[in-house]
Assembly symmetry: C2
Homo-oligomer: 198 residues x 2
Protein backbone atom coordinates (compact mmCIF):
# COMPACT_ATOMS: atom_id res chain seq x y z
CA UNK A 1 0.00 0.00 0.00
CA UNK A 2 1.23 3.52 -0.85
CA UNK A 3 1.10 6.05 1.95
CA UNK A 4 0.76 9.69 0.91
CA UNK A 5 3.41 12.19 2.03
CA UNK A 6 0.60 14.25 3.62
CA UNK A 7 -0.47 11.36 5.87
CA UNK A 8 3.14 10.75 6.93
CA UNK A 9 3.53 14.45 7.72
CA UNK A 10 0.31 14.49 9.76
CA UNK A 11 1.49 11.55 11.86
CA UNK A 12 4.88 13.19 12.28
CA UNK A 13 3.27 16.47 13.39
CA UNK A 14 1.10 14.65 15.87
CA UNK A 15 3.78 12.40 17.35
CA UNK A 16 7.07 14.23 16.80
CA UNK A 17 8.58 10.95 15.57
CA UNK A 18 10.86 10.71 12.48
CA UNK A 19 9.46 10.42 8.91
CA UNK A 20 10.75 6.90 8.24
CA UNK A 21 9.36 5.48 11.47
CA UNK A 22 6.02 7.14 10.77
CA UNK A 23 5.91 5.76 7.23
CA UNK A 24 6.64 2.21 8.43
CA UNK A 25 3.94 2.44 11.10
CA UNK A 26 1.44 3.71 8.52
CA UNK A 27 2.27 0.87 6.13
CA UNK A 28 1.67 -1.55 8.97
CA UNK A 29 -1.68 0.10 9.83
CA UNK A 30 -2.79 0.41 6.18
CA UNK A 31 -2.80 4.18 6.42
CA UNK A 32 -4.87 4.40 9.62
CA UNK A 33 -3.31 7.19 11.70
CA UNK A 34 -4.85 6.22 15.05
CA UNK A 35 -3.69 2.61 14.65
CA UNK A 36 -0.24 3.83 13.57
CA UNK A 37 0.05 5.82 16.82
CA UNK A 38 -0.74 2.69 18.83
CA UNK A 39 1.86 0.76 16.83
CA UNK A 40 4.47 3.46 17.50
CA UNK A 41 3.64 3.41 21.20
CA UNK A 42 3.97 -0.37 21.36
CA UNK A 43 7.37 -0.01 19.71
CA UNK A 44 8.39 2.10 22.67
CA UNK A 45 7.76 5.65 21.48
CA UNK A 46 6.24 6.81 24.72
CA UNK A 47 6.31 10.41 23.53
CA UNK A 48 3.75 9.69 20.82
CA UNK A 49 1.04 10.03 23.40
CA UNK A 50 1.88 13.54 24.56
CA UNK A 51 2.25 15.34 21.29
CA UNK A 52 -0.78 13.86 19.61
CA UNK A 53 -3.03 15.52 22.15
CA UNK A 54 -1.82 18.99 21.33
CA UNK A 55 -3.46 21.31 18.90
CA UNK A 56 -2.38 24.68 17.66
CA UNK A 57 -3.99 27.53 19.55
CA UNK A 58 -2.64 30.98 20.21
CA UNK A 59 -2.84 33.11 23.32
CA UNK A 60 -0.91 33.21 26.57
CA UNK A 61 -0.49 31.58 29.97
CA UNK A 62 -0.47 34.16 32.74
CA UNK A 63 0.21 33.91 36.47
CA UNK A 64 -0.08 36.04 39.56
CA UNK A 65 1.21 35.53 43.08
CA UNK A 66 -0.53 37.45 45.85
CA UNK A 67 0.42 38.22 49.44
CA UNK A 68 3.98 36.96 49.26
CA UNK A 69 3.03 33.47 48.15
CA UNK A 70 -0.23 32.90 50.04
CA UNK A 71 -2.38 32.86 46.88
CA UNK A 72 -1.35 31.91 43.36
CA UNK A 73 -3.20 31.92 40.03
CA UNK A 74 -2.43 30.32 36.67
CA UNK A 75 -4.63 31.00 33.64
CA UNK A 76 -4.70 30.15 29.93
CA UNK A 77 -6.39 32.66 27.63
CA UNK A 78 -6.69 31.71 23.96
CA UNK A 79 -7.05 33.92 20.94
CA UNK A 80 -6.85 33.19 17.23
CA UNK A 81 -3.57 34.77 16.12
CA UNK A 82 -0.08 35.17 17.49
CA UNK A 83 -0.38 38.81 16.42
CA UNK A 84 -3.16 39.45 18.95
CA UNK A 85 -1.45 37.26 21.58
CA UNK A 86 1.57 39.55 21.54
CA UNK A 87 -0.52 42.73 21.69
CA UNK A 88 -0.03 44.72 24.88
CA UNK A 89 -3.77 45.01 25.51
CA UNK A 90 -4.14 41.23 25.31
CA UNK A 91 -1.31 40.78 27.82
CA UNK A 92 -3.05 43.28 30.07
CA UNK A 93 -6.36 41.42 29.71
CA UNK A 94 -4.62 38.20 30.82
CA UNK A 95 -3.05 40.02 33.78
CA UNK A 96 -6.39 41.51 34.82
CA UNK A 97 -8.10 38.11 34.63
CA UNK A 98 -5.37 36.72 36.93
CA UNK A 99 -5.88 39.54 39.44
CA UNK A 100 -9.62 39.00 39.29
CA UNK A 101 -9.34 35.24 39.94
CA UNK A 102 -6.99 35.84 42.88
CA UNK A 103 -9.48 38.26 44.47
CA UNK A 104 -12.85 36.76 43.52
CA UNK A 105 -12.02 33.03 43.91
CA UNK A 106 -14.27 31.54 41.17
CA UNK A 107 -14.91 27.80 41.24
CA UNK A 108 -15.79 27.34 37.56
CA UNK A 109 -15.32 29.19 34.28
CA UNK A 110 -19.01 29.31 33.29
CA UNK A 111 -22.40 28.05 34.50
CA UNK A 112 -22.22 25.02 32.16
CA UNK A 113 -19.17 23.82 34.10
CA UNK A 114 -21.04 23.48 37.42
CA UNK A 115 -21.58 19.73 38.06
CA UNK A 116 -25.22 18.64 38.36
CA UNK A 117 -24.73 17.31 41.91
CA UNK A 118 -23.50 20.75 43.08
CA UNK A 119 -26.53 22.39 41.44
CA UNK A 120 -28.89 19.89 43.08
CA UNK A 121 -27.29 20.52 46.47
CA UNK A 122 -27.56 24.29 46.04
CA UNK A 123 -31.21 24.06 44.97
CA UNK A 124 -32.07 21.81 47.90
CA UNK A 125 -30.50 24.26 50.32
CA UNK A 126 -32.40 27.16 48.74
CA UNK A 127 -35.75 25.28 48.80
CA UNK A 128 -35.14 24.31 52.43
CA UNK A 129 -34.95 28.00 53.33
CA UNK A 130 -38.44 28.62 51.92
CA UNK A 131 -40.01 25.37 53.08
CA UNK A 132 -42.08 26.97 55.84
CA UNK A 133 -42.55 30.35 54.15
CA UNK A 134 -46.15 29.60 53.12
CA UNK A 135 -45.46 30.91 49.63
CA UNK A 136 -47.01 29.09 46.62
CA UNK A 137 -44.74 26.56 44.90
CA UNK A 138 -44.44 28.58 41.69
CA UNK A 139 -43.28 31.66 43.61
CA UNK A 140 -40.74 29.54 45.52
CA UNK A 141 -39.53 28.16 42.18
CA UNK A 142 -39.03 31.71 40.86
CA UNK A 143 -37.06 32.60 43.98
CA UNK A 144 -34.97 29.43 43.53
CA UNK A 145 -34.13 30.47 39.95
CA UNK A 146 -33.20 33.97 41.13
CA UNK A 147 -30.96 32.60 43.90
CA UNK A 148 -29.41 30.18 41.45
CA UNK A 149 -28.38 32.99 39.13
CA UNK A 150 -26.89 34.69 42.19
CA UNK A 151 -24.98 31.47 42.89
CA UNK A 152 -23.58 31.59 39.34
CA UNK A 153 -22.52 35.18 39.90
CA UNK A 154 -20.59 34.05 42.95
CA UNK A 155 -19.12 30.81 41.64
CA UNK A 156 -18.56 31.28 37.89
CA UNK A 157 -15.72 33.43 36.58
CA UNK A 158 -17.59 34.72 33.50
CA UNK A 159 -20.66 35.66 35.58
CA UNK A 160 -18.75 37.34 38.40
CA UNK A 161 -18.76 41.15 38.59
CA UNK A 162 -15.31 42.26 37.43
CA UNK A 163 -13.33 43.36 40.49
CA UNK A 164 -11.99 46.51 38.88
CA UNK A 165 -15.38 47.65 37.56
CA UNK A 166 -18.18 45.84 39.26
CA UNK A 167 -20.99 47.00 36.98
CA UNK A 168 -19.47 44.78 34.32
CA UNK A 169 -19.30 40.97 34.38
CA UNK A 170 -15.99 39.31 33.46
CA UNK A 171 -17.81 38.02 30.39
CA UNK A 172 -18.39 41.61 29.24
CA UNK A 173 -14.73 42.45 29.80
CA UNK A 174 -13.84 39.64 27.38
CA UNK A 175 -16.58 40.59 24.92
CA UNK A 176 -15.35 44.20 24.79
CA UNK A 177 -11.92 42.91 23.83
CA UNK A 178 -13.41 40.63 21.15
CA UNK A 179 -15.39 43.55 19.68
CA UNK A 180 -12.29 45.71 19.53
CA UNK A 181 -9.85 43.14 18.07
CA UNK A 182 -12.36 41.18 15.94
CA UNK A 183 -10.88 37.95 17.19
CA UNK A 184 -12.41 35.33 19.44
CA UNK A 185 -10.98 35.16 22.98
CA UNK A 186 -11.62 32.26 25.35
CA UNK A 187 -10.61 31.83 28.98
CA UNK A 188 -9.74 28.18 28.67
CA UNK A 189 -8.71 27.05 32.15
CA UNK A 190 -7.39 28.34 35.43
CA UNK A 191 -5.94 27.13 38.70
CA UNK A 192 -6.07 29.08 41.96
CA UNK A 193 -4.09 27.83 44.94
CA UNK A 194 -4.49 29.20 48.41
CA UNK A 195 -1.86 28.15 50.91
CA UNK A 196 -3.04 25.30 53.16
CA UNK A 197 -6.54 24.90 51.73
CA UNK A 198 -7.65 21.33 51.20
CA UNK B 1 -27.67 23.09 76.70
CA UNK B 2 -24.56 25.21 77.38
CA UNK B 3 -22.12 25.60 74.51
CA UNK B 4 -18.51 26.23 75.47
CA UNK B 5 -16.76 29.34 74.17
CA UNK B 6 -14.11 27.06 72.61
CA UNK B 7 -16.70 25.23 70.49
CA UNK B 8 -18.20 28.52 69.32
CA UNK B 9 -14.74 29.78 68.43
CA UNK B 10 -13.94 26.60 66.48
CA UNK B 11 -17.13 26.95 64.44
CA UNK B 12 -16.39 30.61 63.86
CA UNK B 13 -12.84 29.81 62.72
CA UNK B 14 -14.10 27.16 60.35
CA UNK B 15 -16.97 29.15 58.86
CA UNK B 16 -16.01 32.80 59.22
CA UNK B 17 -19.54 33.50 60.51
CA UNK B 18 -20.27 35.79 63.51
CA UNK B 19 -20.13 34.50 67.14
CA UNK B 20 -23.85 34.90 67.89
CA UNK B 21 -24.95 33.08 64.73
CA UNK B 22 -22.50 30.28 65.51
CA UNK B 23 -23.74 29.98 69.09
CA UNK B 24 -27.37 29.77 67.97
CA UNK B 25 -26.55 27.10 65.39
CA UNK B 26 -24.64 25.09 68.01
CA UNK B 27 -27.54 25.28 70.46
CA UNK B 28 -29.80 23.99 67.72
CA UNK B 29 -27.39 21.14 66.91
CA UNK B 30 -26.75 20.25 70.58
CA UNK B 31 -23.09 21.17 70.23
CA UNK B 32 -22.44 19.10 67.09
CA UNK B 33 -20.17 21.22 64.88
CA UNK B 34 -20.82 19.37 61.60
CA UNK B 35 -24.58 19.62 62.09
CA UNK B 36 -24.21 23.29 63.01
CA UNK B 37 -22.43 23.94 59.70
CA UNK B 38 -25.31 22.33 57.80
CA UNK B 39 -27.78 24.44 59.77
CA UNK B 40 -25.82 27.61 58.95
CA UNK B 41 -25.74 26.66 55.25
CA UNK B 42 -29.47 26.03 55.19
CA UNK B 43 -29.95 29.46 56.74
CA UNK B 44 -28.22 30.86 53.69
CA UNK B 45 -24.62 31.17 54.81
CA UNK B 46 -23.17 29.88 51.57
CA UNK B 47 -19.67 30.85 52.63
CA UNK B 48 -19.66 28.29 55.46
CA UNK B 49 -18.71 25.64 52.96
CA UNK B 50 -15.51 27.24 51.70
CA UNK B 51 -13.80 28.13 54.90
CA UNK B 52 -14.46 24.90 56.75
CA UNK B 53 -12.33 23.04 54.25
CA UNK B 54 -9.22 25.06 54.97
CA UNK B 55 -6.52 24.09 57.37
CA UNK B 56 -3.48 25.95 58.51
CA UNK B 57 -0.33 24.98 56.65
CA UNK B 58 2.72 27.07 55.99
CA UNK B 59 4.83 27.38 52.85
CA UNK B 60 4.43 29.24 49.60
CA UNK B 61 2.72 29.21 46.22
CA UNK B 62 5.20 29.83 43.41
CA UNK B 63 4.76 30.40 39.69
CA UNK B 64 6.88 30.59 36.58
CA UNK B 65 6.03 31.69 33.04
CA UNK B 66 8.28 30.43 30.27
CA UNK B 67 8.77 31.50 26.64
CA UNK B 68 6.69 34.66 26.82
CA UNK B 69 3.54 32.88 27.99
CA UNK B 70 3.77 29.58 26.12
CA UNK B 71 4.28 27.51 29.30
CA UNK B 72 3.15 28.32 32.84
CA UNK B 73 3.62 26.56 36.17
CA UNK B 74 1.91 26.97 39.54
CA UNK B 75 3.13 25.02 42.58
CA UNK B 76 2.35 24.78 46.30
CA UNK B 77 5.20 23.77 48.57
CA UNK B 78 4.40 23.30 52.25
CA UNK B 79 6.66 23.51 55.27
CA UNK B 80 5.92 23.58 58.98
CA UNK B 81 6.65 27.15 60.04
CA UNK B 82 6.19 30.61 58.63
CA UNK B 83 9.80 31.22 59.68
CA UNK B 84 11.08 28.65 57.18
CA UNK B 85 8.52 29.74 54.55
CA UNK B 86 10.01 33.23 54.56
CA UNK B 87 13.58 31.98 54.38
CA UNK B 88 15.38 32.89 51.16
CA UNK B 89 16.57 29.33 50.58
CA UNK B 90 12.99 28.05 50.81
CA UNK B 91 11.86 30.66 48.28
CA UNK B 92 14.68 29.55 46.02
CA UNK B 93 13.68 25.91 46.43
CA UNK B 94 10.13 26.80 45.34
CA UNK B 95 11.49 28.73 42.36
CA UNK B 96 13.73 25.85 41.30
CA UNK B 97 10.85 23.37 41.55
CA UNK B 98 8.82 25.65 39.24
CA UNK B 99 11.66 25.81 36.70
CA UNK B 100 12.05 22.05 36.90
CA UNK B 101 8.33 21.41 36.28
CA UNK B 102 8.32 23.80 33.30
CA UNK B 103 11.25 21.96 31.71
CA UNK B 104 10.62 18.33 32.71
CA UNK B 105 6.81 18.24 32.34
CA UNK B 106 5.93 15.72 35.11
CA UNK B 107 2.44 14.20 35.08
CA UNK B 108 2.22 13.26 38.78
CA UNK B 109 3.92 14.20 42.04
CA UNK B 110 4.95 10.66 43.05
CA UNK B 111 4.52 7.06 41.87
CA UNK B 112 1.58 6.51 44.25
CA UNK B 113 -0.34 9.18 42.29
CA UNK B 114 -0.24 7.25 38.99
CA UNK B 115 -3.76 5.82 38.39
CA UNK B 116 -3.95 2.03 38.10
CA UNK B 117 -5.37 2.18 34.55
CA UNK B 118 -2.36 4.20 33.36
CA UNK B 119 -0.01 1.66 35.00
CA UNK B 120 -1.88 -1.25 33.38
CA UNK B 121 -1.68 0.46 29.99
CA UNK B 122 2.05 1.09 30.37
CA UNK B 123 2.71 -2.50 31.45
CA UNK B 124 0.73 -3.88 28.53
CA UNK B 125 2.73 -1.75 26.10
CA UNK B 126 6.01 -2.91 27.66
CA UNK B 127 4.98 -6.61 27.63
CA UNK B 128 3.88 -6.27 24.01
CA UNK B 129 7.40 -5.16 23.07
CA UNK B 130 8.86 -8.41 24.48
CA UNK B 131 6.08 -10.73 23.35
CA UNK B 132 8.11 -12.36 20.58
CA UNK B 133 11.50 -12.01 22.26
CA UNK B 134 11.65 -15.69 23.26
CA UNK B 135 12.81 -14.69 26.78
CA UNK B 136 11.46 -16.64 29.79
CA UNK B 137 8.45 -15.04 31.52
CA UNK B 138 10.36 -14.24 34.72
CA UNK B 139 13.05 -12.38 32.77
CA UNK B 140 10.37 -10.43 30.88
CA UNK B 141 8.76 -9.59 34.23
CA UNK B 142 12.08 -8.23 35.52
CA UNK B 143 12.44 -6.11 32.37
CA UNK B 144 8.88 -4.86 32.84
CA UNK B 145 9.71 -3.78 36.41
CA UNK B 146 12.86 -2.03 35.19
CA UNK B 147 10.98 -0.21 32.44
CA UNK B 148 8.26 0.71 34.91
CA UNK B 149 10.74 2.41 37.20
CA UNK B 150 12.01 4.25 34.12
CA UNK B 151 8.41 5.30 33.46
CA UNK B 152 8.22 6.71 37.01
CA UNK B 153 11.44 8.63 36.40
CA UNK B 154 9.84 10.19 33.35
CA UNK B 155 6.35 10.84 34.68
CA UNK B 156 6.72 11.53 38.43
CA UNK B 157 8.12 14.81 39.69
CA UNK B 158 9.85 13.33 42.77
CA UNK B 159 11.50 10.56 40.72
CA UNK B 160 12.64 12.80 37.86
CA UNK B 161 16.33 13.71 37.62
CA UNK B 162 16.60 17.34 38.76
CA UNK B 163 17.16 19.49 35.66
CA UNK B 164 19.92 21.59 37.22
CA UNK B 165 21.83 18.58 38.56
CA UNK B 166 20.76 15.38 36.90
CA UNK B 167 22.57 12.94 39.21
CA UNK B 168 20.06 13.93 41.87
CA UNK B 169 16.33 13.17 41.85
CA UNK B 170 13.93 16.00 42.77
CA UNK B 171 13.14 13.94 45.86
CA UNK B 172 16.77 14.26 46.98
CA UNK B 173 16.70 18.02 46.40
CA UNK B 174 13.79 18.24 48.82
CA UNK B 175 15.39 15.80 51.30
CA UNK B 176 18.60 17.88 51.38
CA UNK B 177 16.52 20.91 52.34
CA UNK B 178 14.69 18.94 55.05
CA UNK B 179 18.01 17.75 56.51
CA UNK B 180 19.36 21.29 56.63
CA UNK B 181 16.29 23.05 58.06
CA UNK B 182 15.00 20.17 60.22
CA UNK B 183 11.51 20.80 58.99
CA UNK B 184 9.32 18.66 56.78
CA UNK B 185 8.79 19.97 53.25
CA UNK B 186 6.10 18.61 50.92
CA UNK B 187 5.42 19.46 47.28
CA UNK B 188 1.68 19.42 47.62
CA UNK B 189 0.31 20.12 44.14
CA UNK B 190 1.20 21.68 40.84
CA UNK B 191 -0.36 22.76 37.56
CA UNK B 192 1.54 23.08 34.29
CA UNK B 193 -0.18 24.65 31.29
CA UNK B 194 1.22 24.57 27.80
CA UNK B 195 -0.47 26.85 25.30
CA UNK B 196 -2.97 25.01 23.09
CA UNK B 197 -2.48 21.51 24.56
CA UNK B 198 -5.69 19.59 25.16
Amino acid sequence: MTISAGTVKELRDRTGIGMMECKKALEESNGDIEKAITILRKKGHARAKDKMERQAKEGAIGSYIHLNGKIGVLVEVNCESDFVARNEEFQELVKNICLHIAAADPQYICSEDVPQEILDEEMEIIREQFKDSGKPAEIVEKIVQGKLSKFYQEACLLDQPYIKEDKMAVNELVTAFIAKFKENVVIRRFARYELGES
